[in-house]
Each structure stands twice: as structure tokens, then as C-alpha cells.
Amino acid sequence: MLQAIERQRYFIDYSLSSLARRRGKNLGLLTVYSLIVFLLASVMLFTQSLRQEAAAILKEAPEILVQRIAAGRQDLIPAAYLERMGSLRGVSEKRGRLWGYHFDPAIKANYTLMTADQHQLPPDGILIGAGIARARGLGAGDFLSLRGNDGKPAAFRVEGILPAETELISSDLILMAEPSLRAFFGIPDGLYTDLILKVSNPREVRKVAEKLTLLLPDTRPILREEILRTYDAIFNWREGVVFVLLMGALLAFVIFAWDKASGLSAEERQEIGILKAIGWETGDVIRMKFWEGGLISLSAFLLGYLLAYLHVFFADGFLFEPVLKGWATLYPAFRPRPVVDGLQLATLFFFSVFPYTLATLVPVWRAAITDPDSVMR
């Protein structure tokens, strides 16, 4: 047993000195290889983390959201619809939500204005998301002036800033008292933006939604499971789009690696010939080359993955920020929480280590089974 291990170690010794003889070329290969693994692993870790974060946060979203649709578009929904629903079995709470968008030309950003009765804000008091505070340079006690529905500027006093750890959902939020929001947007009493329903038993949600569409035919219920599915699909889609963009780089690398691994240089063929001439068997040559490929690809996998981990979870995935940001001015500053999916890691390992290692073996085997004399020539 010890002897077998020692034998493999001699092969590794030889492989490493052989790699060191072509140091520049092999270091270049290792760098490009690690970079490819780094990009793939970064996309994988980032999207997985966002997907999990969305699922964890939005699991508390309302079970059913009811929108009123007028001429194919969402419209304000009368509060009377709450009474028209009556008492639906399984619904533990129902209330109206009042919210809307406001475009701020000062920083060319869209805000989401919403009522928050739980906070009991004064008529001119607001709570703002950390994204707005950062973009407008606001702190508690400062005033924010916005142009209201009537064209007149309305000044609001910042009572506080929403916690930074909620930025993924609250970056662009402005919370205010209901009368202030109605006055600002010019929404009369008795109208809401949409309604939310809480259903305690998840098995009753679909039944309640069916009853709603019968009772209120001009409404559209949106279920929490649809919201969660939307986010899952979005991140799958994004992962797919980035992978497609990476495909060019990936193919270039495949050609490069294939060329490097499968086409033996004259020097390498000569080396194999000499090894055979001094008594190495075909199996020994293949083992030596297997270690060469294995050491490079395993190093590239580990280096690439570790760099991706640092990039995503310690540097906030800064390379992806421009892609995610789009044209949004208020991009939430958030640090993705580390999530590692064992299956994804195993897939990445399999596809980054095995193809290269195997690609190195075929030409070596071909060279190693030919006559040493003809190979050396």
C-alpha cells in the first residue's frame, strides 16, 4: 500500500518538474482556467443566494393580493370591495393597501410611496429607505420636498431611515401616514391601490382565490406562491442569460484547453519517446500525464471557486452590479448571504476538472503506444 502511494508520489514529482519546465505556458493556462471557473462559480453563487434570500423574505408576503383590472390595466380598487367579499371562510385578515410611485427628477429615480399606519407618523413625517437616504444625502430630521399631484411642492420631515439590513425590499420606500399619501397623490377616501388577504391554511388559498374571481369578476387575485415562483423564475432566467453571455469566453477556453491538452508539442512527444526508451511503460506515461492534467484542473477549480466566494460574499459581487442595476438609480446596497448548494458545487467540480483531465489522456495514450524510436524522430 505504502509502496503504491510512494510510486504515485514519484509520478507527481516527475509531473510537477515537467510542468515547471514549461512554467510560463502552464501558469497562463492555470490563470485562464481559474478565471473561467471564477466567472461560472460567481454567477452560480450569486443567483443561488438571491433566490434563497427572495424566498426567505417573501415567504411572509400576503397570501392573496387583489387588484382591480379596468380595460386591461390595474386600477384603484374601492374599499367597498372588502364588504362585497363578505366573510370568506379561511380568510383571517383583509385590508386595503395604499401605495404608488413617484418620479423624483432631482436624482432621476422612482420612489415607492406607501402608507404605514403601524408607525403612527405625523402628517408631514416620513420614513425613508436607505437607498433614498444615500442618493439624496438625507438623515433623520432633514426635509424632503416632492412635487405633489396638485403641482405644489410638499415638504416632508424625515422621521427615520428604515434599517439598512432591509434594503433589499425597502431601498426605494417612503412610508407616510394615510391622509398625507391620499393628499399627495389626490386619491379620494374609499379607494385603495390593492387589497391583501391573509389565509391561515395554505390549502384554502386557491379555493379563496376562485371564490374571489366569482364574487368580484373585475379583479385579479395574485397568490403568494405565484410571487415566489416569479422570483425563482427570474433568477433562473438571469443565471441563464449570464451563462449565455459567458458562452463565448467558455468556448474560447474549450478550444484553448483542447488545443493545449490534445495536441502534443514536438517536445512533449520527444519526452514520451525518451521515457519509453528508458523503460517506462505505456501505463506509467499515462499516469504521469493524468497527474499533470489533474493537478492543473483541480488547482483551477479550487482557486476559481474560492475567488468567486470572496467576490460574491465579501466584495458584494461588484462585477455583477452593473448588470443587475440596469437603469435603476436606487440600487439596494446589500451583501448576499452565503449559500452553497452541494449539488451545484459537485456539478461545477465535475465539469471543470474531468473534461480537461480526460482530454490530456487521449493524445498521450496515442503517442505512448507508438514505437519510441518513431516518436523521438
Partner: protein
């Protein structure tokens, strides 16, 4: 290169250096996995975010704030990309990242 040679010989042996290199990288990989388990979503409480979602009845992430149908992806209507006026081409980069509705990508699934 003999078994059990002097320390200098052992350090100089390439396979020993390779072993140290991989042990180091392996240790870092284990640290990253432990870090993910410790600070990841499984171990940590999503905290205030969940409270705020429950309290305000929020339905979406504030990831793409450039347009209303990208800010509230789950509330946008089925033809959100062209909702501003007829034949309005969608010009926000986010829309190229967000998936089309399920019923368009997978017609076999009954539309919700």
C-alpha cells in the same frame, strides 16, 4: 529524493509542496463551507426584512426600481413590457434579464 530524508529534502520534494498546496486550498474550501453554514440563510434569521414584509404586506424586492413593472414584477400585468402605449418597445435593460411569463415559455402549463 529518498523516503524519510532530511527536512530540507522533504520540503524540496515537489509532491510534498503540491500536497501542502492542496491541503491549504482544501482547508480554505472547508472554511468557506463552514462560513456558508454559519452565516448563511439556514443559520441566520432574515430579521427585520421579514417583519417589514409582514407589516406592510410587501410583495417584491427593490432590485429593479427603474420602471413600475420591473419594481413590482409579481404585480405587473401579463403584457407589462408594452403597457405604456401601443407598440411601445421595452427599453429597460432589466426586462432582458427578467423571464417572460410562465405561460409563454411553457404553453403546456395551464395559465394562472
Amino acid at each position: 529524493m529518498v523516503i524519510g530524508g532530511s527536512i530540507r529534502e522533504r520540503v524540496a520534494r515537489p509532491s510534498n509542496r503540491a500536497m501542502a498546496w492542496f491541503l491549504g486550498l482544501g482547508a480554505l474550501l472547508s472554511v468557506s463551507l463552514a462560513h456558508a453554514l454559519w452565516f448563511g440563510l439556514d443559520g441566520a434569521d432574515p430579521g427585520h426584512g421579514v417583519e417589514l414584509v409582514r407589516e406592510l404586506g410587501l410583495s417584491d424586492l427593490a432590485l429593479f426600481t427603474e420602471a413600475r413593472y420591473t419594481r413590482h414584477l409579481s404585480l405587473a400585468d401579463s403584457h407589462a413590457a408594452f403597457q405604456d402605449h401601443p407598440l411601445a418597445l421595452d427599453h429597460f435593460p432589466t426586462a432582458s434579464l427578467a423571464a417572460p411569463p410562465e405561460h409563454l415559455r411553457n404553453p403546456h402549463v395551464a395559465g394562472d
